[in-house]
């Protein structure tokens, strides 16, 4: 299975660079997710690997043909035809399927098969079935019984079409670990024997919570990832946005909290062009050139935040999106920071996190002054958190240079990532000038 994944990655890459400049970007990745979802739905969650393999082999077939004969006029239709054939062949030659899957297919395809003739499986690659299958897979993959990181891995593999190498790169991990994680996750799904389908209407809200959390973490993985591959990181964010948007397009999942999450993602994504300088170094919010912020995404975020405010739901995504909206206004004002402070006050009541506590304290310093914020910060006692000390360093600036230095030095010893160490060092250097 692994070899297929790797070859597929290479196939996609070499095609991108050689024979077919005309191919739309990420075509294979995109089509992989569609074919895999439809086939998973057809075969059942037990046979997830078969679906992956058939999808992967479909692109190998393209690699064997297109460079020599040219890209077909409708590449997608070509791929679907191949995928259908491969699936039919697989079903015919595989004994297990004749025993297990076929009877179910027979049942589902009405009573046409009373004659006892083998039924041709309906491999429905229509737009509607693709979207439905993808959404149902999203619910299957984001199952509360799976550890969150396994959910993210599976989502990246099945729903975003990422190769094992790409997932390993995004998580700063290695192929073996990711393969093991995926293997265990699939075993777990198999043992749970959950059918792929929409949860019953009464359960959607609760199941949606897990789905949204996974998409939120997938997005964060891209936004804050340490991976050097900037393109890959933005891809993760875009995939998370694409999947969230699919939920919005479906009537039963187009809920306020989904719109709120999408809005949050838009606001953050609007700063992508401004977050890195020409050397790939991170540019902090305060130093960003706001002319580079993507106003279209900001407007889109505002639209969905408005959609999110219908009804009585107030999720953490609503609060985080509102905070992110205030951050789309660069100019400091009393009003801005007072609003951000109150939003953090609410957020911490419904979803505590150390980073929200630290951000709240920063907002407190902007709204109520540094003295009050220093007292509040020292109560947090997040003494193993490097950001706790960078915050204290920030709060003592212009008040006590000795404290600034000692806090920043502590932060430096606690910092977990290269980027963070670099940023703290930069601050220390500017102080010692």
């Amino acid at each position: 299975m692994e070899s297929t994944n790797t070859t597929q990655g290479n196939a996609a890459q070499s095609l991108r660079t050689s024979a077919s400049e005309a191919l739309i970007p990420h075509l294979f990745r995109m089509e992989f997710t569609k074919i895999a979802a439809v086939l998973c739905k057809l075969f059942g969650i037990d046979h997830i690997e078969v679906a992956e393999d058939i999808a992967g082999e479909t692109f190998l077939a393209a690699l064997e043909t297109w460079p020599y004969k040219g890209v077909p006029p409708n590449p997608t239709a070509w791929l679907y035809a191949i995928a259908k054939n491969k699936t039919k062949n697989y079903l015919h030659r595989n004994q297990i399927y004749t025993g297990k899957v076929m009877p179910r297919l027979k049942q589902e395809s009405n009573e046409q098969s009373l004659t006892g003739e083998p039924v041709e499986p309906e491999i429905d690659l229509s737009e509607k079935n693709i979207t439905d299958s993808q959404l149902q897979m999203l619910f299957a993959v984001c199952h509360p019984t799976l550890p969150t990181e396994a959910q993210i891995c599976l989502a990246l593999r099945i729903l975003c079409g990422f190769g094992i190498d790409e997932i390993a790169n995004a998580f700063l991990s290695n192929k073996e670990t990711i393969n093991k994680r995926l293997f265990r996750a699939k075993e777990k799904l198999r043992s749970e024997r959950k059918p792929i389908g929409f949860p019953p209407a009464a359960e959607i809200g609760q199941r949606l919570e897990t789905v949204l959390l996974t998409l939120y973490l997938l997005y964060n993985e891209g936004y804050y990832s340490e991976s050097q591959d900037a393109v890959l990181r933005e891809d993760l964010c875009q995939e998370a946005m694409r999947l969230t948007y699919q939920l919005i397009q479906n009537e039963s999942t187009n809920r306020p909290e989904v719109n709120a999450l999408f809005s949050l993602m838009c606001f953050h994504a609007s700063r992508f062009p401004a977050r890195k300088d020409e050397n790939g170094e991170i540019v902090l919010y305060a130093d960003q050139d706001e002319a580079l912020w993507d106003q279209t995404l900001i407007a889109k975020g505002a639209y969905h935040l408005h959609q999110a405010s219908q009804g009585n739901t107030l999720s953490k995504y609503h609060l985080e999106a509102s905070i992110a909206w205030w951050h789309t206004i660069k100019t400091d004002s009393k009003e801005k920071w007072e609003n951000i402070l109150q939003l953090y006050n609410r957020l911490l009541q419904i979803a505590y996190s150390p980073i929200a506590a630290l951000n709240r304290t920063y907002a407190l310093s902007k709204a109520n002054g540094k003295q009050e914020a220093i007292v509040a910060a020292e109560q947090l006692k997040l003494t193993d958190n490097p950001y706790y000390y960078t915050l204290l360093g920030e709060l003592y600036r212009d008040i006590d240079k000795g404290k600034v230095l000692s806090h920043l030095k502590t932060a430096l010893t606690l910092a977990r990532t290269k980027t963070d160490r670099k940023l703290i060092q930069r601050k220390l250097d500017s102080l010692e000038k």
């Binding site: 911490l348 505590y352 506590a357 709240r360 407190l364």
Partner: protein
């Protein structure tokens, strides 16, 4: 970690403050609760509006209350998580309610369910 309820007692609930003053208290209360939540020590809480309040007395007599002979009222409560009553008391000290002369915050430990003590 235990839970403690902080009950806000107003010395005179009939006094009505100016909208401006209420707004100041509002912000202070939100910041106070936010500060406790930022330490991950906030559990939940609520205000108890005076409007429509009733007091049920002995023998089923119902009065519009809580005001009567006694003016003292309960304005609300929050439940916090704390290692000790002293920590809960430290939280209580920050309550903006205490800016009112005569107001108090009562701190009471909440009995954990199922420990067999009644």
């Amino acid at each position: 970690m235990d839970e403690y309820i902080l009950i806000f007692r107003h010395e005179d609930g009939t006094k009505v403050a100016s909208p401006e003053q209420i707004q100041v208290w509002m912000k202070q209360t939100m910041d106070w609760i936010g500060g406790i939540a930022a330490q991950n020590k906030f559990s939940h809480g609520n205000g108890l509006p005076f409007d429509g309040a009733k007091v049920v007395h002995h023998k089923g007599i119902v009065t519009n209350g809580p005001f009567g002979e006694i003016k003292e009222t309960i304005g609300g409560y929050i439940v916090v998580k704390a290692e000790s009553v002293d920590e809960a008391v430290e939280f209580a000290k920050g309550s903006p309610v205490l800016q009112g002369d005569g107001n108090t915050v009562e701190v009471r430990k909440i009995m954990k369910g199922g420990d067999g003590v009644h």
